[in-house]
């Protein structure tokens, strides 16, 4: 095995996208989550903090928001304000995602 590692150790792994729900408190700490425990907690905390920052900045811009969503090429993040914290839905947009039969590619 050591012999093989000498050849393959430099190969970068593809990062998995999170899927599930996270609730965070007003400080961005994770309260509950259904995201796989294999997914980095630090990245989940980053998502929580960034989402809370979006809500906070919207309030200081006199445009308080009840919901924000961030749409990336392969991931949708939707967050609802929850008494200072937030509930966050993470939905990867992959081709392997189950879709209705009539949404033909």
């Amino acid at each position: 095995m050591g012999f093989l590692r000498r050849f393959f150790r430099g190969r970068a792994a593809v990062q998995q996208l999170p899927t599930g729900t996270v609730t965070v408190d007003r400080n961005g700490e994770i309260l509950t989550t259904t995201v796989s425990s294999a997914y980095s907690r630090n990245l989940l905390r980053d998502i929580g903090r960034d989402v809370l920052e979006l809500f906070r900045e919207a309030r200081s811009a006199e445009m308080p928001l009840a919901e924000v969503s961030l749409h990336f090429g392969s991931l949708h993040i939707t967050a609802r304000e929850l008494r200072g914290g937030a509930i966050i839905f993470l939905l990867p947009q992959t081709v392997l995602l189950a879709t209705p039969k009539n949404s033909r590619s």
Partner: protein
């Protein structure tokens, strides 16, 4: 000897392949329809059979449609190619045309407009019998229109620039109608010619189209070119003020027509002040910049791909933040605005500075 043309359909959806085969077998020229459910199989068929037309899907596992098309373009340059995809995305349309495909069609449109689709296919199948050259064109719209008129063509030119779509109707080499972003006739024609880039495709002629343009096309092209030259000239102070006023009025009219509440456009940092229409407050501009920055940072950390948009809503309104060229746009819509807001925002932004 069987002189029927052969059509190859490539799609990973088996049901769709069977349905398409049935539909295409009913074409007036009764072509022989071959099917393949992956790129490798399609390339093998193309090597062994004299296929005239390849109809290709884009989103497929392992080898996607664009990869297949780039291989086909090199190995079989004489083959007619049609993209038939469920991806209603102008970027894919541009990429497909850049690979030299003859036609790009959306599956839903094929179902709703089967007659026109069949006519396009018949025209592509028959075109091999006519002499002529083919290749990838990168010409100005003026050149393309002049060429169509000189050859006395009857066709509908569909021109797209990002999410904006326009059409020109030509009958026996005369321009009879134009349509773009809610405008029609000469006004639409002038607006289309101001577009600096985009893609075009030829659709079958519509001889019964009502005529709205009566001026000769050369006169219209000349007038439009003069207008564009004058716009490009440096203006005096009065003329600059008038021009700024006209632009402001046009943008407000655009805002009202689309039903948006406000539009804020932010130039890159340090490159000027935000442009605000429809609201007095500039505070949301700060939020838009923060939102764009957070989204970019988070997208990179999560490796989630490019940022498409950031949206927000409350009881009163919905807001969308999108990038366009080097600017960030924040567009506000009423909470009860209906329709596809993302698409409407994209169109509004694309037409904003044009």
């Amino acid at each position: 000897m069987d002189k029927r043309h052969k059509i190859l359909i490539l799609d990973d959806d088996e049901d769709w392949l069977i349905l398409s085969r049935e539909l295409l077998s009913t074409l007036p020229s009764h072509p022989e329809v071959l099917i393949a459910n992956n790129g490798k199989r399609a390339l093998a068929i193309l090597e062994s059979e004299p296929v005239r037309l390849l109809i290709c899907d884009l989103k497929m596992p392992r080898m996607d449609g664009l990869q297949v098309l780039s291989i086909v373009r090199r190995r079989h340059p004489e083959l007619r190619t049609v993209v038939l995809s469920g991806l209603e995305d102008e970027e894919y349309r541009s990429r497909a045309y850049a690979l030299g495909v003859d036609l790009f069609w959306i599956k839903m449109e094929m179902q709703s407009n089967a007659k026109m689709f069949n006519e396009c296919l018949e025209s592509l199948l028959g075109r091999d019998d006519e002499p002529g050259f083919r290749g990838i064109q990168s010409k100005s719209l003026m050149d393309i229109i002049q060429m169509e008129c000189l050859s006395r063509s009857s066709t509908v030119l569909r021109i797209s620039r990002g999410p904006l779509v326009a059409k020109l109707w030509l009958q026996d080499g005369e321009l009879i109608d134009a349509e773009a972003a809610g405008a029609r006739g000469e006004a639409a024609f002038r607006r289309i010619l101001a577009w600096k880039s985009g893609t075009f495709e030829n659709h079958p002629a519509e001889p019964n189209r009502e005529r709205t343009i009566f001026k000769p096309v050369n006169a219209l092209l000349l007038e439009t070119a003069q207008d564009m030259d004058e716009t490009a000239q440096p203006l005096g102070q009065d003329a600059t003020e008038q021009s700024t006023h006209r632009k402001t009025m046009w943008k407000l009219a655009q805002l009202t027509r689309e039903g948006a509440e406000f539009v804020i456009s932010l130039p890159p940092d340090g490159m000027g002040e935000p442009e605000v229409f429809g609201t007095r407050s500039t505070a949301p501009a700060g939020w838009a910049r923060v939102a764009a920055s957070i989204a970019r940072r988070l997208g990179e950390r999560l490796e989630a791909g490019p940022v498409l948009q950031v949206a927000g809503k409350n009881m009163e309104r919905q807001v969308l933040v999108m990038n366009h060229e080097d600017k960030i746009f924040l567009v506000g819509w009423p909470a009860d605005a209906d329709g596809n807001l993302v698409e409407k925002t994209r169109k509004l932004i694309a037409s904003w500075d044009s």
